[in-house]
Symmetry: D2
Subunit: 352 residues, 4 copies
Amino acid sequence: MRGFAMRRIGEVGWVTREKPRPGPYDAIIRTLAVGICTSDQHTVYDGPLGELRLIMGHEAVGEVAEVGSEVKDFQPGDRILVGAVTPDWRTLECQRGWHQHSGGMLGAFKFTTTKDGVFAEYFHVNDADMNLARLPEAIPLESAVMVADMVPTGLHGVELAEPAFGAAVCVIGIGPVGLMAVAGAALRGAGMIIAVGSRPVSVEAAKHYGATHILNYKEGDIAHQVAALTGEQGVDAAIVAGGEKGGQGLFQAIRMTRPGGTIANVAYFSTGDTLPIPRADWGLGMGHKTIKGGLMPAGRHKLETFLSLLEFGRLDPARLATHVFHGMENIEEAWHLMRAKPADLIKPVVIY
Amino acid sequence: MRGFAMRRIGEVGWVTREKPRPGPYDAIIRTLAVGICTSDQHTVYDGPLGELRLIMGHEAVGEVAEVGSEVKDFQPGDRILVGAVTPDWRTLECQRGWHQHSGGMLGAFKFTTTKDGVFAEYFHVNDADMNLARLPEAIPLESAVMVADMVPTGLHGVELAEPAFGAAVCVIGIGPVGLMAVAGAALRGAGMIIAVGSRPVSVEAAKHYGATHILNYKEGDIAHQVAALTGEQGVDAAIVAGGEKGGQGLFQAIRMTRPGGTIANVAYFSTGDTLPIPRADWGLGMGHKTIKGGLMPAGRHKLETFLSLLEFGRLDPARLATHVFHGMENIEEAWHLMRAKPADLIKPVVIY
Amino acid sequence: MRGFAMRRIGEVGWVTREKPRPGPYDAIIRTLAVGICTSDQHTVYDGPLGELRLIMGHEAVGEVAEVGSEVKDFQPGDRILVGAVTPDWRTLECQRGWHQHSGGMLGAFKFTTTKDGVFAEYFHVNDADMNLARLPEAIPLESAVMVADMVPTGLHGVELAEPAFGAAVCVIGIGPVGLMAVAGAALRGAGMIIAVGSRPVSVEAAKHYGATHILNYKEGDIAHQVAALTGEQGVDAAIVAGGEKGGQGLFQAIRMTRPGGTIANVAYFSTGDTLPIPRADWGLGMGHKTIKGGLMPAGRHKLETFLSLLEFGRLDPARLATHVFHGMENIEEAWHLMRAKPADLIKPVVIY
Amino acid sequence: MRGFAMRRIGEVGWVTREKPRPGPYDAIIRTLAVGICTSDQHTVYDGPLGELRLIMGHEAVGEVAEVGSEVKDFQPGDRILVGAVTPDWRTLECQRGWHQHSGGMLGAFKFTTTKDGVFAEYFHVNDADMNLARLPEAIPLESAVMVADMVPTGLHGVELAEPAFGAAVCVIGIGPVGLMAVAGAALRGAGMIIAVGSRPVSVEAAKHYGATHILNYKEGDIAHQVAALTGEQGVDAAIVAGGEKGGQGLFQAIRMTRPGGTIANVAYFSTGDTLPIPRADWGLGMGHKTIKGGLMPAGRHKLETFLSLLEFGRLDPARLATHVFHGMENIEEAWHLMRAKPADLIKPVVIY
């Protein structure tokens, strides 16, 4: 079968692989649609994980092609969603409540790091009964594929932020994850939602998803702008979905959050030895500004509850899919489009 | 000044009182609008608190008429909202985190129980800086008055229920409080929302506010109907806003909730010695079905965050106000209308 | 092999069984010591589960005799502890965070309800890597066997109660579970600990484990006695480990707890249709007295953290083992001793 | 009256002041005993707050000398404890649940920053009913004075860390606050407790208070030593009570904590623009290692619950008071002793 892979650091291209085979608890999925994600591009062009030569891609919906002998809940032909995170569920980390770190920190993120990803005709999923989610017919593929990563990551920012009804929330960065954090904050009952970003296509989407105010870092220090909007109180929670460079998104989030508030990071910091906490704004260590950060949750239960938000009309991520390609071969074009990031792009999707 | 009061158990009517005067931290409010609440009618016709002869009413918006010498944040002419609950804030109960029970269990509920209520030309509010909320001009009076009790009580059901994103929630009872619990569950990111009720006006409002399914107890055991809708799993949380008689709403809520789920009561149980927990369905005591119940939260901060939901368009309680009267003298008609409960009534409001 | 079983309702005796065999993820344990538990006696003499004819017993430590082909962390000869609760870990209930209810409410309690128990030469444990706990050499068998059920159940009462540092806690019932709740409350930093019970051997043990006050229901209404001790405030949390009859333990726990407090049940209610909540003392439904109840947590991680409390000298359950028998054949005598409950008995243990 | 004050940056000495007078809700306290705290010495010798010229000291027990007209619960002659933190309780910050930040971040810390401290014959306490705690006769003064700051601060580290029963905890820094964090972790049911420090007097005290392992940074990288002790898993929680320089205590705490764990800071970082988060060890932003930090809680309720731990024998901070002076004039010697920090010193106390 064919797949779109990292060939060496800085280079991608099509490769041929044997079709994968399932272990007793596993499934092989025939891909129906995939999303292109910037984190794969970091893997290829920055090379933090080395020269992996794996098939790229970790966002997919598909159809079950084959199942192992012990799989009970799924059978060939089932329409399913797979999370970007596919944990082993029989581990002490899961018993502790942290499936994302099953097998070690971030250990449940397997596609493109320890095994081939989803930019292929078929791909392998471990523990199918626990890691596949049944996909309702009514949800279109370009929406469903957003629930592999963008929706769970953006909404996890909100889960970490824990805004109360009417809380003031700031979302830093309004790429697709940040936009889902905006939508998630509105869906969680936040009041004021401040979105920080400048690309017009994203600004419009942020307003659509519930942002009440838009801030642009070019118009002055963001924390000062937030202070002005909140009567010098700061926000109850700040969600970091951008500003990775030098940890500036996190740094500003801590500054703009009021004592007793929460900073929730879902950004991936790929460079630098340390991330900076502003000492004085963190109350000299005693300001009760809690700093969290975590990988998206996954597993069948969690994915199906996220899907139910689409099913019942609470959330519609379709607007993220600004560019929808048809035909697997267009993965290559979509990949390069994501890299070029034209003005009208939020996220490219490829339907096979 | 005039007020509409309980004269004796079973009888209401107009009375004349001296205009109240503020202590140093208090305010006197000139009433602008009030809501009529069934709990006052329990007080009058069932007489659980005795023959109080107090002015009725605990839902009001108004204008500050006079403030005590120590009031800092408000002055005459300010447009404000008052919560049905007006705690003393300098108590050990507040230090423990339970302002609702400041001075003893339910001690913060003062109007109509320990002092005159709001169905008057003027009324008194203790600790104005802590118990008044600034009312944005953009919010109409008939919406704002719902934030005195209906919104905080309904949304408190959701706060107690703590639904995760995509959770399945059942709301038992769809009077005005139950409807706000439905709206609050949707606003908190629930997926499936099952509303239990039968009056057509309420059913339509429940759908409007986000209910995905409506159940009618006349069509069979509610817990069985919920089991059928949820693949025999039960809901993640049940909010009790009705079914007070014999505690049946609470009883059914426990039955229909899955192990590990939460039952959140905001109904006022006015009769009977005990409320029943179904032993087997509660897992013989070990099913991890947590039973909560609590009085609405209040205070300036909380009320203003609830108001921000209206201000930013997240929640619109106006649909509750099916009957809006103009002129204080119509309190009497509105009162009797609430008692008669015609088919098209959800809640009467009187704008002075 | 031999085992001590329920023969019919009301009758126990020795039986002969084939030695069990492991599935690929399972282990067979050679029993080293067992504890006798009253809940087995309810199963036999009250017959709530029917005429099961299974081997009794759910508290055991042993040595691994045989493992399935997929077991990685344990091998024959390992000294281990098994929890009374042995969940399947690959279920949606576990993904939701409720391993106790894996496969359905209380579904993880398997010994004596859906499979043979531990009163035998050998017994079977599903998913050995997840359900066995490594037993440090330094912990004697009669202490270790208390960590199968008494320690996790008693301490789970405390986990549910969530007392803050210095909280006032009441433990109702001071059998072995209640005594571990007392010890757990002290170990969790409670201040005043009131224990309710009357048997002298238990009263002495309760004081040893940290009770500051002892109440006897024969000396007047317990809730009134608690009110007197706490300046009419009530306790912050009440843990129910007794008073099963008519749900009286739970009923009193609700009465004696202050608004905002928690009632934590770990008692097994075996009879009656309903359990009573006192309506007025529960604040007419609005008193913020949260009622919880749950089955003990289990799994390797949790059991090993409980064992670490013994290993590091934080908790010593040895005092519970008032009667230690040597020789498997003494299970019969220990069983009848538990039923007769002489004055000096807390818990019998049999070392093989 | 006389007081021991900062005269200018770098200089302390005796001053004469008018005896303070109470406002209507306040009290004047006659000092009975005080503790000397290093943070005052930072204020004087590093001068971060400027040349304040205020009386120093924020740890005191005393006797009520005079009360304002509105004080209800205390009267002259009452033996009381005052917290280092004395909030205004009628603020929106308190309504939000953050009394420590009443009036602004850290705003409740008033002694020595915005008003005279306690190293005087008399001192002033705002809102006496809310900020004084009744001191049981049985608690000696040198123990009680530790509950003004050392006990609440150390135990707050544990409150923030939220260790489960049997959790592995590391406490970085074993001055008096760190020692109370060790004691608090044991009192909260932690299993393994690793204390990091090197002074023999503190090491002995740490073992006494429940540390199971002692690490010395001179013997190699602390995070590596912790990894070796925990089977390369890391601790469940790390409490930072030292290592302020360059934020190294916090930095190491993040490194040594496992994914899903908590870092709880109670150290006061007095220098530097930023504190460093180790990027890779923080899971590239996604490791679910939560970083908290907060000022001690206070108020009558909280202080009295801490005192109940001493009253009921759960905690004995007396060992911290290695040097007890008698006579107010010895504040000067105690102050300089604290600065010199001889080998046998943990904390000096002066009893008037």
